[in-house]
């Protein structure tokens, strides 16, 4: 034995004592920083780069700033690419504290590193640290683990060498406002101007006698692979033939393979002149067994409903109501069909009512649900027609201007943009944002709207419009 056997070169209890003294010192003299481990979303294999990252976990931890004389590094410098901060921050964190309070959250129950975190046992290069004193997000450049070299045969601390983060389009979504808002006004954003005011649709009807006022499904049938045609027996001579459509449902909840059944029959034209209930048959659809009966109304029920104004910006089916029938009569019931363009395409009748003395007024609900609610930072918004999604950066409820990044496709003007935040997750939200996109701007569009005040894309464009003659197309974009 080469060493003196009468001395312990660090017993477990001595090592623990040192570690605890260090922890205590850090807790007294440190700064509470937030540790954000990097979640790897996408990587390029051959050229070995992390293309997409997300930072959605956060862990407060005490850290000791090595130099209170200021940041190290090169400070703020003016480069070809604008002002760049080359500050360097060196932080000491406790090894034990990291292993006890951060590592366990990065592994699953089986002890494996959670998906996309790559490494859990130690702080890793590329992770971020929110430094609250300067409200800066630093990126860990290097983790020095052998500083204070093996005191009592053990290492107690990590020294993290950090530099301010170079932001691109990473999502920082920790639910800590001070952290998340750091890049809210950085980098690239698409500016969406939204509108919410849709137009309410209107419709009129008339009174007829001898109409088909309702169709009751007696047996909903089975095995339909497509919607069958509803055939209604023709009206007597001089009458008007009634028409209806079937609404299908999947009772087996296993898709078209086992077939659909008939949910309800909606009347599109109640016809006129029927004196006895007509027969109703189903044609086509490859199913069988469906049976329905029609009921007629001999006195003053509603006729076909004609849309006089299809309205606009309907995203959900509005209510349709008819003025109540006089005592003893039956009030008509209808349902609206919303087209892909957000207009009311048709009013279908579930019950034509009876006993009206005057033509009932039809009231179609407002295009509600659009033009309401708010958006919050890091919320995912989806264009209902293009299925494009994006992440919210800023939202101005007064001007209805929404700035987003991480756009996965191309938003369309006129489509409805729907948020995903709820009052459950965001108290004070009001309601989930739902608006129509009226204008889409990027840097080069009509408004100079940049966060960094670096780019001149728009200014260059405006100046070039005055002096450049580009009859032919510019391959680099539109003039």
């Amino acid at each position: 034995m080469a060493l003196n056997p009468f001395f312990l070169q660090g017993s477990r209890s001595e090592q623990d004592l040192v570690q605890q003294l260090i922890n205590e010192q850090l807790k007294m003299y440190g700064v509470e920083v937030v540790y954000l481990p990097r979640r790897f979303v996408s990587e390029k294999t051959i050229i070995r780069e992390n293309v997409l990252s997300k930072f959605d976990e956060s862990f407060p931890i005490e850290a000791y700033v090595l130099s209170y004389q200021g940041f190290g590094g090169g400070g703020d410098i003016l480069t070809k690419f604008g002002i760049q901060s080359k500050d360097e921050l060196r932080l000491i964190i406790s090894r034990e504290r990291y292993e006890d309070y951060i590592s366990p959250f990065l592994v699953d129950a089986a002890g494996n590193v959670k998906e996309n975190f790559k490494l859990a046992i130690r702080p890793k290069e590329g992770d971020l640290i929110y430094f609250p004193l300067s409200d800066t997000i630093f990126e860990v450049k290097f983790v020095e683990h052998e500083t204070e070299f093996y005191q009592l045969n053990k290492l107690y601390i990590y020294e993290l060498v950090c530099e301010p983060f170079e932001y691109e389009d990473e999502i920082i979504d920790t639910d800590i406002d001070e952290v998340d808002d750091n890049f809210q006004e950085s980098g690239y954003a698409v500016k969406l101007t939204l509108v919410g005011i849709g137009q309410t649709a209107t419709a009129v009807t008339s009174l007829r006698s001898g109409t088909v006022s309702y169709i009751t499904v007696v047996n909903d049938g089975y095995g339909y692979k497509s919607t069958p045609t509803v055939a209604i027996q023709a009206a007597p001579s001089g009458g008007i033939n009634a028409t209806a459509v079937a609404i299908m449902t999947n009772r087996s909840s296993s898709g078209f393979s086992t077939g659909y059944s008939i949910d309800q029959i909606l009347i599109t034209n109640p016809g006129a002149g029927y004196s006895t209930p007509p027969l109703v048959k189903f044609i086509g659809g490859s199913g069988s067994g469906a049976i329905a009966t029609a009921g007629i109304s001999t006195s003053n029920s509603i006729g076909i409903v004609t849309i006089t104004n299809p309205g606009s910006k309907y995203s959900i089916i509005p209510t349709v109501s008819f003025t109540a029938a006089p005592s003893g009569g039956v009030t008509a019931i209808g349902t609206a069909v919303v087209s892909a363009a957000g207009t009311i395409a048709q009013i279908r009748i579930t019950n034509g009512g009876s006993g009206y003395v005057s033509v009932p007024t039809i009231t179609i609900g407002n295009p509600s649900g659009v033009g309401t609610g708010n958006f919050v930072l890091n919320e995912t918004v989806t264009g209902s027609a293009s299925s494009t999604t994006a992440i919210v950066k800023t939202w101005d409820a007064d001007t209805l201007v929404l700035k987003v990044n991480n756009v996965t496709g191309t938003f369309r003007i006129g489509e409805i943009l729907v948020g995903s935040a709820t009052t459950f997750t965001h108290v004070g939200l009001g309601s989930t944002g739902r608006y129509v996109i009226s204008n889409i701007e990027r840097y080069t569009d009509t408004d100079v709207d940049t966060f960094d005040n670096f780019d001149q894309n728009e200014e260059i464009q405006e100046a070039a419009d005055l002096i450049l003659d580009f009859s032919e197309k510019n391959p680099f974009g539109d003039y």
């Binding site: 003016l78 070809k80 002002i83 409200d135 750091n182 840097y443 080069t444």
Partner: protein, 350 residues
């Protein structure tokens, strides 16, 4: 000695023209399944800036929330050099109608050719971004790409400025200790072949409005007879005197070549007429019925309503052609067998 203030902002215009080539470049980020996750318009700026302006604009509140947002493009002019290979005649002039007074003509002497060297820098966090940007630029420079710049507005001289991509250098500092970040930058060197114009002045000499060419049977013009004289004068394509000579007696569509007018006495074969915006030439006249060639002088053939006035385009209109208007040509051929020549001073053949 050299006086006469002028400033066409030629370099600034070239800087703008150069910058606008690259102000609409996008990059996309995809996940491992190939779905687009993000797209970014790459910001570009002219690199040089007053230092205090950069600080005031880019760090107004002194907040340092980040180092920098990437990727970015930056460009700057690096030098100017004379290009002797493109030298033109120094006594030739460009002439154009004075935009503020269309009865006057401006002129400027041929420009002096200069090459401007530009540098475009691409900085990015990851190689893949830089490669996306680079790949969207390189194919368009074979090795040059021309933009048309209105260099001197007052003469409307739009010059094609070819921009040559000379070389590309890249630096990818990924080695070394961990105190230094990886630094990824591409530098593309370009040359813009532009022209510097001198002052634009009033043109004092008159415009040439008539050209006569005499052909002789021999190069010995003292002893040879002259044979043919061609005279060319401008022909009006528009009706300037609004003569309303006659009007259409029927509706005509865009296919009819024979139609009636109310009074064809003033019209004859080969006369040019204008109906609406369409120019026609009369092929023959029969009573009040005209047979015409439609859509003469590149005018658009269209239908015309009864009663539309018909204007004759003749010498009266020719005399009223305004500066900068488009015009056609009247040609006249005369045959001689004499020994005379034209004397410009006397204005006649002697």
């Amino acid at each position: 000695m050299i006086s006469n203030y002028f400033y066409h902002e030629i370099i600034r215009k070239n800087v703008i023209g150069f910058g606008t080539l690259f102000n609409n470049i996008y990059i996309k980020h995809k996940d491992s399944a190939g779905n687009q996750k993000s797209d970014l318009l790459v910001p570009i700026a002219y690199g040089p800036i007053q230092k205090f302006l950069a600080r005031i604009e880019q760090q107004p509140d002194l907040a340092k929330k980040q180092s920098i947002s990437l990727p970015r493009l930056s460009f700057e002019m690096k030098g100017i050099s004379y290009d002797g290979s493109r030298k033109g005649s120094p006594i030739q002039t460009f002439k154009a109608v004075n935009p503020s007074d269309n009865t006057k003509i401006n002129k400027v002497f041929m420009p002096v050719p200069y090459n401007l060297s530009f540098e475009l820098n691409i900085i990015s966090k990851i190689q893949d971004d830089a490669l996306q940007i680079l790949e969207q630029i390189l194919p368009f420079f074979q090795p040059s790409f021309a933009i048309t710049i209105d260099l001197v507005e007052s003469i409307g001289e739009k010059k094609d400025t070819p921009i040559f991509l000379n070389s590309i250098s890249m630096s990818d500092n990924y080695e070394g200790d961990y105190g230094e970040r990886r630094y990824l930058m591409y530098t593309l060197s370009f040359t813009a072949k532009t022209n510097f114009f001198g002052p634009v002045v009033d043109n004092t000499s008159a415009l040439i409005k008539k050209v006569k060419v005499d052909y002789f049977s021999s190069t010995d013009i003292k002893n040879a007879k002259r044979e043919v004289r061609y005279t060319i004068t401008p022909r009006a394509l528009n009706d300037y005197n609004n003569d309303n000579t006659t009007s259409l007696a029927e509706d005509i569509d865009n296919k009819v070549t024979k139609f009636d007018v109310n009074d064809a006495t003033a019209l004859s074969k080969d006369v040019y007429i204008k109906i609406g915006d369409e120019n026609m030439q009369i092929k023959s006249v029969d009573g009040n019925t005209l047979t015409v060639y439609r859509g003469i002088d590149n005018s658009v053939v269209s239908s015309h309503d009864i009663g539309t006035s018909i204007d004759v385009l003749n010498v009266l209109d020719d005399a009223l052609i305004e500066l900068d208007d488009d015009f056609g040509f009247n040609s006249d051929v005369e045959f001689f067998g004499d020994f005379k020549t034209y004397s410009p001073t006397l204005g006649q053949d002697v």
